[in-house]
């Protein structure tokens, strides 16, 4: 099958493209930076560019759309332009190019209003109540995409929950950097039960989705390891793998959420480019439960996660070898 992967320069996009190549598919990648995926035709460009998008989808039978603005801060308009309009543009181009299947990589945060999630399935995307511009725009994009689902143009959304692995800058390196400087607190003693997705499991689930469109088109599925852990233990596991001390001090979750909301606003207002130390979104992620019912996902995708949480942590430790800490202190 000829498959286009957008956003293939990110951790997850690259893994998806590589897996497709390994499976013998003809793979095209599309993003602003080089994808670094061997044996894939690499188109460079932005989802804001109609012409570039049209060129990338030409001839593809399947599309996996990962390109998105992923951040805790930034101007709302930028999120709208990339995540909502970019998806709209891609959908339009793919349909007119005769693409048969499109998998949108989404996020469980599209249906998260901030309350704890314990063992639920994929609730409908809800832009109105989603917290933060990222979640809001991803929710809008998912609604757009699923509305476009049709017998001759099948669309499904896959929502991997907190993807991590060696080389992950979103969670792993941020945790290690902050814990390495003793600046990572636990919220409410780190008890919140959180499920995550090791990157190999996320990529295999996304590729499985492309093969199982017949069973899943028109729907959104949450994907995770199916191994909820208290967040404190999870962070301790990541720190141990990176060779830095685990967080040992706790602040009340409510305080962190309130502080995060203020910091988020200040950061955006001040126009700072680097990610802020605490955001409301992050505080919520670290202080409320998020774990999901994976039974239906696994059945529909005919897929099970191949790498367990503990195996993933072992791979992470292997990746950092002598330890992340040493690198932090060198830099």
């Amino acid at each position: 099958m000829k498959v286009l992967v957008t956003g293939a320069s990110g951790l997850l996009g690259r893994e998806v493209a590589r897996l497709l190549v390994r499976q013998g598919h003809e793979v095209t990648t599309f993003q602003r930076r080089p994808s670094g995926v061997d044996s894939a035709a690499d188109f460079r460009g932005s989802v804001r560019d109609d012409v570039a998008v049209g060129r990338a989808v030409a001839g593809a039978e399947g599309v996996i759309h990962l390109a998105a603005k992923v951040s805790f801060t930034g101007r709302a308009a930028e999120f709208d332009e990339v995540n909502v309009e970019g998806t709209r543009r891609l959908l339009r181009a793919a349909r007119s190019a005769g693409v048969r299947d499109l998998v949108l990589v989404s996020s469980p945060s599209v249906a998260n209003s901030g309350a704890a999630i314990a063992g639920l399935g994929a609730e409908p995307a809800d832009p109105e109540h989603a917290h933060g511009d990222y979640s809001r725009t991803k929710a809008e994009a998912e609604l757009l995409a699923l509305a476009a689902d049709a017998p001759e143009f099948r669309v499904a959304a896959v929502r991997p929950h907190i993807v991590w692995g060696p080389g992950d800058t979103q969670l792993v390196e941020r945790v290690l950097a902050r814990a390495g400087h003793g600046r990572l607190p636990l919220l409410d003693a780190g008890a919140a039960l959180i499920d995550t997705t090791y990157v190999d499991n996320a990529s295999s689930a996304i590729v499985a989705a492309l093969h199982r469109m017949e069973h899943i088109h028109g729907r959104a599925l949450v994907v995770s390891n199916g191994e909820p852990r208290p967040v404190g233990e999870l962070l301790a596991g990541i720190c141990a793998a990176g060779g830095v001390p685990a967080p040992s001090w706790s602040v009340p979750g409510g305080v962190a959420r309130a502080a995060g909301a203020v910091v988020e606003k200040l950061w955006t207002w001040a126009g700072r480019k680097e990610e802020p130390p605490m955001t409301r979104f992050l505080a919520e992620q670290l202080s409320t439960a998020h774990w999901f019912d994976q039974r239906e996902t696994q059945e529909l995708l005919d897929w099970t996660p191949a790498v367990s949480l503990d195996e993933g942590l072992a791979k992470l430790a292997e990746h950092y070898g002598s330890g992340f800490a040493a690198r932090v202190h060198r830099s």
């Binding site: 314990a118 008890a191 039960l193 199916g226 852990r229 009340p252 979750g253 409320t288 439960a289």
Partner: protein, 893 residues
């Protein structure tokens, strides 16, 4: 005659199509001849016929004051189910709800007649079951008595037909009736309505409360509410008293099936009214919803039980209990061995004894003295008003007095209610009130609690009390006085032979479950079942006349005289098993040269902790013990092995059972060691994963109903195949008769005819031994597997720094996350997530037992039951774990 439905129907839970008005010609004395009254009803009859459904009959539902037909909406909805259609006619009484405001004062007799006028106008045909609540209960029963040809059954919820003797009307009603309050409270203001609505547990939703209030907005619409209250016949001179008495007396002749659904948290219609109703309709099926109140139809789902009961009406050949038991003859009464021993050569030797704190015998009776004391007390109790079937609550610690009182009551055919302090103060109070004893025999402390907490029953002290104390506690007499009185009565009352024994199938005792899995339940035993329990204990453990036992554990201890065994009560606070010291045990054993010891696991722990206090003579006495029985909770093998060193000659047995079946299986220390070794070696299929409790006791059959993926045991097939996990069921002559006033619970427990469902889960091994894996209610349904807690808990508890462990689930059924909650050694400073290191080890231990644990939480101490101090309240832990793991602040479980 049928008017249009009430305009603008917007009552949550009500289909607008049910609402209708009917014009009814009145024949009531309150109205001049020729008067036509307008009634409002909720009636699903037209809807059923429109849908082509033929109802099995009609439920005629009558609300009380100050509600309206809205109260019965759940019955209307259930009756509209095409699978089992019933027409449900819920009326708004005149001057109430949306029916006409007549401007008349309608008394009880009018209201009963009004209802008949309505059913005449409706032309109801086919069987009718009346349903009533509050004062609507009386009116529905009045209608029922007037329409015997149509009546197929009666359903009553929190109502009353009679003010029981010796009790005043409830204070809340007295207040509402007070002339200074009455008009203002019931009519001028909506206070009476608001107070009634506030009786719901949990509180009514705002829209439901508003629907209940809707027809009563404005004083003019509330005249009926006030008149209803004024028509309560608080005394015989009241004009409605004859009508009420007529219903109350007429009820005794009512033979149709009856169902009573009751909310005991009712300040008006408390349990004593339920008791009165049961005495009039003894065949009624009764279910008390513990925690529910006056508005029981709002507090609980009453539709399901009502319709299940209706379905049974169609099947039953008639009302009343259907006994499958053998005929009465040939069953020696429970106390037969006692009577024989008293009359025999050994009649002068010690039968029962009580130890003093200093190690000497404080009190004892010979067999002859025991027999005489029992006979005298029985005669005295009879003189004092205790009859066959009277309920007598015994709140006397084990010892001579309790033994005498217990056997005296049993001989009289009274039903003994044995609620122990192990239920905790609240649980005990709830249990006693629910059982509604006629008499309460208690020590001073129990009588004081009875006075403070308002426990029912005429009060009898153990010893004679000073007059002032007697008045203070409301005590009528004492066991001592009754015994003196009885010994003067004709000796024919001493009930010697089986001829005077009560019917073996009559109720004999109400015992209580420990309440570790919900409110304590009363468990009813007949004389035949108690005798069977005695025989099972005698056969299984080889306890025969001549045995001498130390009774440190109440349930079995009471069987001593029935077994013909000498029994001695050690010096201890029986409400706290862990107060039994090694020295007290040894002193008691020495006093009678004991051959058998009964002690709870908690007591054994303390005995071991205090073993250094035993003297040489005491040590010899313990060394002579041949048998130790310890029941109530599992005992770890290492603990038993230590006990063995203290009782080197004794065979150590830990029977498994429950209040509903004592005992079910038995196992000895050697057998435990063999089973554990075989489980470790994997040589016997099915050995392992749980606590091995051995093989069924004499006369008992045990099997399991396999578990389904949702963690329930829904099937009807049962088996004993090795390795199949399921709900444990038991069948035996010594299994309970029924749960007391818990019809629904009883039905569930006997859903497999002839078997008692224990609510425990476990499996057999290939050697025929039963392994208990936990409670059915505590099964965790993880996505990949149904997890029973005990196996993983045992694996976790083997870690050095872990004390008690509990495995619970959080999240939705079928996809639960498994959580291990552990006590650490030394104890954690505060409750919360375990350290990553401990969590890792706990997770590893559980995984070795085949269980994948998501989270590990540490607690300072596990919440355990009071009686055994061993059963962990997993339901509470699971709620706490859900809260903590959702990201809340830990707090305490």
């Amino acid at each position: 005659m049928v008017a249009a439905g009430w305009p603008g129907v917007d009552w949550p839970g009500v289909d607008p199509e049910w609402s209708r008005e009917v014009a009814v010609a009145s024949t009531s004395a309150a109205d001049p001849p020729g008067t036509v009254r307008r009634w409002h009803l909720l009636d699903n009859g037209a809807q059923l016929s429109r849908r082509g459904l033929t109802p099995a009959g009609t439920l005629l539902c009558v609300h009380g004051n100050p509600t309206w037909s809205y109260l019965w909406r759940s019955l209307l909805a259930a009756g509209s189910d095409p699978a089992r259609p019933w027409r449900v006619v819920a009326v708004d009484q005149l001057d109430m709800g949306y029916s006409e405001r007549t401007g008349t004062f309608r008394r009880l007799a009018d209201r009963i007649n009004d209802l008949g006028d309505l059913t005449d106008a409706l032309g109801l045909d086919g069987p009718v079951v009346s349903v009533g609540h509050d004062w609507g209960g009386v009116i529905s029963l009045g209608w029922a008595l007037a329409h015997p040809e149509q009546l197929a059954g009666v359903v009553l919820t929190n109502t009353a037909v009679h003010q029981p003797a010796g009790s005043g009307i409830p204070p809340a009603l007295r207040l509402a009736l007070h002339p200074a309050v009455h008009r203002w409270g019931t009519t001028t203001s909506d206070t009476f309505l608001r107070v009634t609505h506030s009786l719901a547990h949990p509180p009514l939703a705002a829209d439901v409360r508003s629907a209940f209030m809707a027809p009563y907005r404005g004083a003019a619409r509330r005249a009926g509410v006030g008149n209803f209250v004024a028509d309560i016949p608080a005394e015989p001179s009241h004009p409605s008293f004859p009508a009420l008495s007529g219903v109350a007396e007429g009820l005794r002749g009512l033979k149709v099936p009856a169902l009573m659904l009751w909310g005991p948290r009712d300040p008006i219609f408390s349990d004593r009214y339920l008791k009165d109703l049961i005495s009039r309709l003894p065949h009624a099926k009764v279910h008390r919803f513990e925690g529910a109140g006056h508005l029981v139809a709002e507090d609980r789902d009453i539709a399901t039980p009502v319709f299940e009961w209706l379905a049974e009406l169609g099947r039953d050949s008639g009302p009343g209990l259907q006994r499958t038991n053998a005929p009465a003859d040939g069953v020696p009464p429970l106390w037969a061995p006692l009577t024989e021993l008293a009359a025999g050569a050994a009649g002068g030797s010690t039968a029962v004894a009580e130890m003093a704190a200093n190690g000497s015998v404080a009190r004892s009776l010979s067999w002859r003295e025991l027999e005489q004391s029992i006979a005298a007390l029985a005669a005295g109790l009879k003189e004092g008003g205790v009859e066959h079937g009277s309920r007598v609550s015994l709140m006397v610690p084990p010892g001579v007095d309790l033994t005498v009182a217990l056997y005296a009551c049993l001989r009289l055919g009274a039903v003994v209610v044995v609620a122990d302090a192990g239920l905790g103060r609240r649980g005990l109070s709830r249990a006693v009130k629910g059982a509604t004893p006629d008499f309460l025999i208690g020590i001073d402390r129990a009588l004081a609690a009875a006075a403070v907490l308002g426990w029912p029953g005429r009060r009898i002290s153990v010893q004679d009390l000073p007059a002032a104390r007697r008045r203070l506690l409301g005590v009528e007499t004492s066991l001592a006085a009754l015994g003196r009185r009885g010994s003067g009565v004709s000796p024919t009352l001493s009930c010697r032979g089986p001829a005077q024994a009560p019917d073996p199938d009559a109720d004999a005792a109400v015992l209580f479950t420990s309440g570790s899995t919900g409110p304590a339940k009363g468990v009813l035993y007949t004389h035949r079942q108690l005798a069977a329990m005695r025989d099972t204990v005698a056969e299984t453990f080889g306890i025969s006349p001549g045995a001498r036992l130390v009774a440190g554990f109440a349930p079995f201890a009471l069987l001593g005289p029935a077994l013909g065994a000498v029994s001695v009560t050690p010096d201890m606070d029986v409400t706290a098993p862990r107060t039994l010291t090694a020295r007290a045990l040894a002193d008691a054993a020495a006093a009678i040269d004991a051959t058998v010891v009964f002690a709870s696991p908690a007591a054994l722990r303390n005995v071991l902790a205090t073993r250094d206090g035993v003297s040489g003579g005491g040590r010899q006495a313990l060394e002579a013990v041949e048998l130790l029985l310890s029941a109530g909770a599992p005992i770890p093998e290492p603990l038993l092995a230590e006990v063995q060193r203290l009782l080197p000659r004794a065979s150590l047995h830990t029977p498994y059972g429950m209040t509903e079946a004592l005992p079910v299986t038995d196992i000895s220390l050697e057998q435990i060691q063999t089973a554990d070794a075989e489980a470790a070696a994997g040589t016997v299929a099915g050995a392992g994963n749980g606590v091995c409790v051995g093989r069924p006791v004499h006369d008992a059959r045990v099997a399991v109903v396999p578990l389904a993926a949702d963690g329930t045991a829904p099937g009807t097939d049962f088996m004993t195949e090795a390795g199949v996990t399921g709900e444990i069921i038991v069948s035996s002559p010594h299994v309970k008769e029924a749960y007391d006033r818990l019809w629904l619970t009883q039905r569930e427990s006997t859903s497999l005819p002839g078997w008692h469902r224990t609510g425990d889960v476990g499996h057999f091994d290939a050697a025929g031994r039963l392994w208990v894996e936990g409670r059915l209610a505590h099964v965790v349904t993880a996505p990949a597997a149904v997890v029973t807690p005990v196996g993983a808990e045992q694996a976790i508890e083997r870690l050095d720094d872990v004390g008690l462990a509990a495995v619970v689930g959080v999240g939705p059924s079928g996809t639960q996350a498994v959580v291990a909650v552990v006590e650490t050694v030394p104890p954690a400073r505060k409750a919360g997530p375990a350290s990553p290191q401990l969590a890792g080890r706990v997770r590893g231990a559980a995984l070795a037992a085949g269980v994948n644990v998501s989270a590990v939480l540490a607690v300072t101490a596990q919440p355990t039951d009071i009686r055994h101090n061993a059963k962990i309240d997993r339901t509470r832990l699971s709620r706490w774990a859900s809260r903590v793991l959702a990201g809340g602040r830990p707090g305490q479980p």
